[in-house]
């Protein structure tokens, strides 16, 4: 269909009607809204089930009692909860000094080839599946030691925390205003004091937030613990022995053929979920208050 030429072309005639475009618009926008709605369905179901199935067995005893043998009612996951705390502490003890140090290095001295390599590697490390980390730590620590241990588990979790801490620290330290550094230098402070005593304290809040979020994520990890810390039905706080942890205990109890244990698995899952959600929410809330 070629438009007639007069003094110029006739105005273009719509081939697609307004109604059709209106309908397509409504359908497309509706589909996007529906997608968002569909997104909400699983989480609603998940939270409902977690609360519904996990709440009944959630008594104070859950936190202080040890696991009972099969068939005996009650019992708790006290050793697992303490175990998770110990593992996280170990992980943080490794990941925080190394991660914050590397992050500060990148932010303050970060234009060398080492720095570029470090940034790239940290990003890559963040994409490594957690089970691969577990396999590596098994070979590096568990085999030479001769047995599973909390140390190995803590190290594996720490490795998982490392990339986020490095990246977040670098970002947060970079955000510290130049004027702070200039002021300190102008007063005659050496570089190291400028960073340690001026820049880092200013970045403290952001680093803490990043650390807490990394901890929250690490506390839910199971795969890296499968062949490092393993698990332990008994009370143990020794770092050179297998140690119980909440995710591992949930895993064992969920797969067990005893409904009583399955129910406890739900309770454990609920506790884990709440721990992480509360931790994440708290850090976000305090960040907003700082801002």
């Amino acid at each position: 269909m070629s438009p007639a030429r007069r003094d110029g072309l006739a105005p273009p005639r719509a081939v697609r009607s307004r109604t059709e475009r209106r309908v397509r618009n409504a359908v497309a926008l509706g589909a996007c809204a529906a997608a968002a709605g569909v997104l909400l369905v699983p989480i609603a179901l998940l939270v409902a089930q977690l609360v519904g199935r996990g709440l009944p067995a959630l008594r104070p005893g859950f936190f202080v009692h040890m696991p009972k043998p099969v068939g005996e009612p009650g019992g708790g996951m006290a050793n697992a909860i303490v175990g998770t705390l110990i593992l996280i502490a170990l992980a943080a003890a490794f990941a925080l000094p190394v991660g914050v140090g590397a992050g500060v290095y990148l932010a303050e001295f970060g234009e060398s080839r080492l720095a570029s390599a470090l940034r790239y590697v940290a990003d890559v490390l963040g994409g490594v599946p957690s089970i691969v980390v577990g396999v590596a730590v098994y070979g590096l620590i568990v085999v030479p030691m001769g047995h599973f241990s909390a140390l190995a588990g803590g190290l594996a979790l720490g490795i998982l925390m490392l990339p986020t801490i490095v990246r977040s620290t670098e970002e947060v330290v970079r955000l510290v205003p130049q004027s702070y550094r200039h002021a300190a230098l102008a007063l005659g402070a050496p570089r190291w004091r400028v960073v340690q005593q001026i820049v880092l304290p200013a970045a403290r809040g952001g680093i803490a937030t990043a650390a807490l979020l990394a901890v929250a994520r690490a506390s839910g990890e199971t795969a890296p613990l499968l062949f490092t810390a393993l698990g332990n039905r008994f009370w143990s706080t020794r770092l050179d022995q297998p140690i119980a942890s909440l995710p591992m205990m949930i895993y064992d109890y969920a797969r067990a053929p005893y409904p009583d244990w399955n129910a406890q698995a739900w309770t454990g899952a609920l506790v884990l979920f709440l721990m992480i959600a509360v931790l994440a929410a708290a850090t976000r809330w305090t960040t907003r208050r700082i801002r």
């Binding site: 720095a115 890559v124 130049q178």
Partner: protein, 327 residues
């Protein structure tokens, strides 16, 4: 944060000038930090080396045949990893098929269509979803999704689509389909959050130009989405990287069978799940080495996928690492 842009008042890489005294604290400080940086590099290197070392016996024994061999036989001490590669690809494929339309659609809703209050609310929920650990999804998949699949969806699929080999077999509830669905739920926050960031970083003026030409909202949205395609593709590839490495949830719902099947209803296994299941039981050096080799393959696979994703996202946002940092 463009690389090459100095943020400190001092030269970041120049050698320090000579100072009085034997050793200046500044140099010590820098060296300490450098050492910590090296430690990160060392950790990464150790992981690679250890996986390669542990896998060496298996690599020597089977060579490339390892990746295409279909028999995983601890008794005969002969290992072929294809069932697990297959399972990984199929479950991740299902996850992507489900997560991409929903994730991109939801991100478009959040970035362009939703009123601010609803947008923030849904974004919060997505963040919550992203923070749920894998094990919790596994428990849910085992005890909630599996019964529903067994009694509702799978029988329906068999009845209506059973002529396709994809939907033939017995409705176990646990299996590849369950794993695919759970994976989809786990990776959809990644797709949504990053796509949303990408869309928000698109210039508003493109949307305005389209509207000013007489486009409907959906037509203008299509323009923005089209321009955001590389970045969104990056988000999808990144989500794929996460799906490939996902372990616990998959292990708990996939049924753990080492047979390759065309049916989505059948049980299967992925590279990550077979390691999780068999590692501590692995007697025999070759058995263990084969499992470590699977870990190595998984590592390399996710490495490539993640590198690709990062390239796409960085290209799309023009090198702005602050947006790409969400990845």
């Amino acid at each position: 944060m463009s690389s090459g842009h100095l943020t400190t008042p001092w030269s970041a890489s120049a050698r320090p000038v000579a100072r009085r005294g034997p050793v200046h604290p500044d140099d010590v400080y820098r060296v300490v930090l450098q050492a910590l940086g090296f430690a990160v590099l060392a950790v990464a290197a150790l992981i690679v080396v250890e996986c390669a070392r542990g896998a060496a016996p298996s690599i020597r024994a089977f060579g490339w045949h390892f990746l295409v061999g279909t028999q995983w036989d601890p008794i005969a001490d002969h290992y072929g990893a294809l069932p697990y590669v297959w399972g990984t690809l199929v479950t991740s494929g299902i996850a992507m098929l489900l997560a991409v339309p929903i994730g991109v659609g939801a991100s478009a809703f959040l970035a362009e269509l939703a009123p601010p209050a609803i947008g923030e609310g849904v974004a919060f929920v997505i963040e919550l979803l992203a923070s749920i650990p894998s094990i919790v999804f596994g428990v849910w998949g085992m005890f909630v999704l599996a019964p529903w699949l067994r009694s509702a969806l799978e029988p329906w699929l068999i009845a209506h689509l059973g002529f396709l080999p994809l939907f033939q077999g017995f409705p176990f509830g646990l299996g590849v389909l369950n794993a695919g669905i759970v994976l989809a739920i786990m990776v959809v926050p990644t797709v949504t959050a990053i796509s949303r960031q990408i869309l928000r970083s698109m210039p508003r003026t493109m949307n305005e130009a389209a509207l000013a030409l007489g486009a409907t909202r959906a037509e203008a949205l299509a323009v923005t989405l089209d321009a955001a395609r590389p970045g969104i593709l990056g988000a999808v590839v990144l989500a794929l990287g996460r799906a490939l490495g996902e372990t616990m949830a998959v292990t708990m719902v996939i049924g753990n069978s080492s047979r390759i099947s065309l049916s989505l209803l059948a049980p299967g296994a992925t590279m990550a799940s077979v390691i999780a299941n068999e590692f501590t039981e692995a007697t025999g050096k070759l058995y263990l080495a084969s499992l470590v080799e699977i870990a190595l393959v998984l590592f390399v696979l996710t490495l490539i996928v993640n590198a690709l994703a990062r390239l796409l996202v960085l290209w799309a946002v023009g090198g702005r690492r602050d947006v790409a940092g969400a990845a």
